[in-house]
Each structure stands twice: as structure tokens, then as C-alpha cells.
């Protein structure tokens, strides 16, 4: 009886959809039910197979450009029946809009500034990542989930570490674009601050840490094993440097 009820919850457990109480109940049942345990394992093996082996289709190279060219022809809907940005639940959009403006400004500053234009680019990405409730595509503190998720979608397999003990808990991963190329964004926290660690494949030999500060954000960049890393956050510069060393070490 309990068995039947619990059995129906096993897929939800595999999908991470159970709250703490039901998760506890199901886990306790699993400990003494080989049937349900076998089912959970079968489910998990199928999940792993799909996640790691199902071929993904990338958008063909010209598609983004074709869409970009077609957009201006697409008129916005005629005279919105409600004001452009009313208060209340639309406030988030207003904030997002304002932040997007900031990001754009930063991008422009970067492209006209003398130093590394990517610094401004990754700061823009960092800001955007926090504006639209889209910090992570895969939200988990488990490095063994984040790494394959990113590897399956990118040409690179960047370092993903669990650094909670050192004060930088892993939050998850996300696909992003830096400088027009797909990049992994590995998200950590430090106290209440978000750290975006961008990583993408790039040719060239290993390069040591370089630090930059701009617009209230700190950036540390380095290259290792054919992957360029940019750590971006508003945490203190020495904290971010410590974080960068932790990621790059070992």
C-alpha cells in the first residue's frame, strides 16, 4: 500500500521534483525496497543516457543573421492597449530594461576603450545574467551535473568545482554568448554576491591571471588547457583573485 503510493513518486524523485518531506519518505522506503530502487536506477540511467548521448542540433550558422535581418521588418504590435511600463508586476521588466541599457553602455565603452574589450563584454553578460531571472539553465550545486550538461552543449569541458567549503558555493551553469561565441557560464556565489565564470575554447598557450576593475565590477582572466576563463563579480578584488586561484588550481 505504502509501496504503491511511494512507487508513483519515484519518477518525481529522479526529476528532482520532491520537497524535503516526501523526498525523505521515498528515500527511506528505497532503503528497504529493491523493486523501487531498481526502478529509480533504471530511470536515472535513462536520464544519463539522454543527457549525455542524445545528439543535439546546433542552429545552422546563417540562422542568427537571417533572423536579425528579418527583425526590423517585423513591426511591433499596434498601439499597446496598456501603458508601456505600468507599476507592479511589470516593474521587473522596467528594471531589466534599465540594466540592459547599462549593459549596452558597457559594451560600447569596451569597444572604444583601449584595453581588453572582452572585459566589458563579460561584465555586460554578468549584468544580464542577473536581470531576467535567468542566472542558470541548470541549477544545481552538483559539479557532476553541471560539467556534463555544459560539455554536452559546448566544444569545451571547463573546470567546474565545488568550492562551498572555501566560501564559494556552486549555483549552476548556463549557456551564454561572449564576443559572439557560445560560452559556458558557471555560476558561484560568495555571500550574497554572484560570480559568473565564463569559459570558452581559445587557441594559445596558458596565460597567467590578469585583473581588471570597471564600473564597480572586478574581473580576473586567465587561460589554461586551451580554455579562456573570465571571472566577473562585484565581490572584492582579492576575494575574486582567491576564487580564480581555487578554480585554476589542481
Amino acid at each position: 500500500m505504502a509501496h504503491d503510493r511511494i512507487r508513483r513518486l519515484v519518477p518525481a524523485l529522479a526529476d528532482g521534483e520532491l520537497g524535503p518531506l516526501r523526498r525523505f519518505m521515498v528515500t527511506r522506503h528505497l532503503a528497504r525496497c529493491p523493486d523501487c530502487t531498481a526502478e529509480l536506477e533504471a530511470l536515472q540511467s535513462m536520464q544519463t543516457m539522454i543527457r549525455t548521448r542524445l545528439p543535439l542540433h546546433r542552429a545552422p550558422p546563417g540562422l542568427a543573421a537571417r533572423i536579425g535581418a528579418a527583425l526590423p521588418l517585423e513591426a511591433p504590435p499596434p498601439a499597446p492597449s496598456r501603458p508601456w511600463l505600468p507599476a507592479g508586476r511589470f516593474a521587473g521588466t522596467a528594471l531589466a530594461g534599465a540594466l540592459a541599457g547599462v549593459a549596452l553602455t558597457l559594451l560600447l565603452v569596451g569597444s572604444h576603450g583601449g584595453d581588453d574589450p572582452l572585459t566589458a563584454d563579460v561584465i555586460g553578460d554578468h549584468i544580464r545574467s542577473m536581470q531576467a531571472d535567468h542566472l542558470t539553465d541548470v541549477a544545481t550545486s552538483d559539479q557532476h551535473t553541471v560539467k556534463p550538461w555544459l560539455s554536452a552543449r559546448l566544444d569545451v569541458s571547463p573546470a567546474v568545482k565545488e568550492l562551498a567549503a572555501q566560501g564559494f558555493p556552486l549555483v549552476g551553469g548556463r549557456l551564454d554568448y561572449v564576443d559572439g561565441h557560445p560560452a559556458a557560464a558557471i555560476v558561484y556565489r560568495h555571500d550574497k554576491h554572484v560570480i559568473n565564470l565564463f569559459a570558452w575554447a581559445s587557441a594559445g598557450s596558458d596565460a597567467g591571471f590578469r585583473e581588471a576593475a570597471r564600473q564597480g565590477f572586478n574581473v580576473v582572466t586567465w587561460r589554461r588547457d586551451g580554455i579562456t576563463y573570465y571571472a566577473v563579480s562585484d565581490v572584492e578584488a582579492d576575494q575574486l583573485a582567491a576564487f580564480a586561484h581555487l578554480v585554476a588550481s589542481g
Partner: protein, 187 residues
């Protein structure tokens, strides 16, 4: 000017999800040409209704539009291959699941899909009804929670759960079937 800004803001939010949008469309439509049409149509539609995006998860919002565009495309190019099957009544479902998942595997090794390779998996996925393929992609590839899958597919949460169970069951059966010697050389 404002329009330029609107376009740039849209691109900043939407282009990072182009691969996800295309992957979903490609798996649903089954070929590149139609997938490209569906995605392009979806992006234009998303741009038109961009002002209606009230925050939240942009990827979910965009994938909902991709999915709707695909459905429109199916209606306009109705083909027997693309029929969405109605979900069977819940009672039958539970029973089917019970018996199918309840069988003790004769050989646990084959029961776990460990040895399946990418090509075989892709072939089996293509043979699944499109609404099964859809929930599996949204759950495992896009890593979305039930509530987002429900929003994208426009069905209640309970339906997402039962459909997902049936999809997994169907994939497992196809796999076990393809393992059988008489099926190995077929198709």
C-alpha cells in the same frame, strides 16, 4: 532609435537561446529545413510580442513560442506522421505503467540503457510520438521542471508527469525491441 534599442534588447535576450530553440524545433519537425522555418517564425513572433514578456524565464517563454509555431506548422502541413496522440485516460495509464515498470527484468544489464549509443538513441527518439519526444527533450535536455514543461506544452502538471512516464516507458520498449535479434537487422 527606440526601435533599434528594442531590437538590440530582444537580441541580447533571445539569441543566446537560438541553439535551444533550434534543437527543440529540429527534434520536433524531424528535418533541418522545417526546423529553420519554425525557429525563424518563432523569433519573429517573439519579437512582435516582446512587450508581453513580463520577466520570468525568457528561455521558457521563447520555447513556448517555438512549440506553438511548430503546432501551427503541423496544422498547415498536416502529415500523418505528425499526429499528436491524445493522452489515454489516467486509469489505463496507471495500469500500463504498473505492469510495464513492475516486471522484474530478466537481465538487469539490458534493463539499464547503459550500452546504447548516440545514433541508436537518436533513431529511437525519432520513432517516438512527437509529444513524447517533446516532454523528454524539455525534461532531460533543457533540464526544465514540470511546471515549465506544463507551461510550454499547455497541459496540466499531472498530464506532464503521466506523459513523461509513458514517454520513458515507450523509449524503453523501443530499446528492448531493437535489442531483440529479429529487429536488429530490420529498418
Amino acid at each position: 532609435m527606440a526601435r533599434d534599442d528594442r531590437k538590440r534588447r530582444f537580441e541580447l535576450l533571445a539569441l543566446p537561446h537560438l541553439d535551444a530553440a533550434y534543437n527543440l524545433a529540429r527534434w520536433l519537425a524531424g528535418n533541418t529545413t522545417d526546423a529553420e522555418d519554425v525557429v525563424q517564425d518563432a523569433y519573429l513572433r517573439a519579437y512582435r510580442y516582446f512587450d508581453a514578456f513580463h520577466g520570468g524565464n525568457f528561455r521558457v517563454w521563447l520555447l513556448t513560442i517555438v512549440r506553438n509555431c511548430f503546432m501551427t506548422w503541423v496544422r498547415e502541413n498536416r502529415s500523418s506522421r505528425m499526429v499528436f496522440h491524445a493522452d489515454p485516460p489516467v486509469g489505463t495509464t496507471a495500469e500500463t505503467e504498473e505492469t510495464a515498470w513492475g516486471q522484474r527484468p530478466t537481465d538487469p544489464e539490458t534493463m539499464l540503457l547503459d550500452s546504447i549509443d548516440s545514433q541508436t538513441l537518436a533513431r529511437l527518439m525519432e520513432r517516438l510520438p512527437v509529444e513524447y519526444r517533446e516532454v523528454l527533450l524539455l525534461r532531460e535536455v533543457e533540464d526544465l521542471p514540470y511546471k515549465d514543461i506544463a507551461a510550454i506544452t499547455g497541459v496540466p502538471l499531472g498530464t506532464v508527469m503521466s506523459r513523461l512516464s509513458r514517454a520513458r516507458l515507450a523509449l524503453r520498449r523501443l530499446w528492448l525491441g531493437s535489442e531483440a535479434p529479429e529487429a536488429a537487422h530490420g529498418a
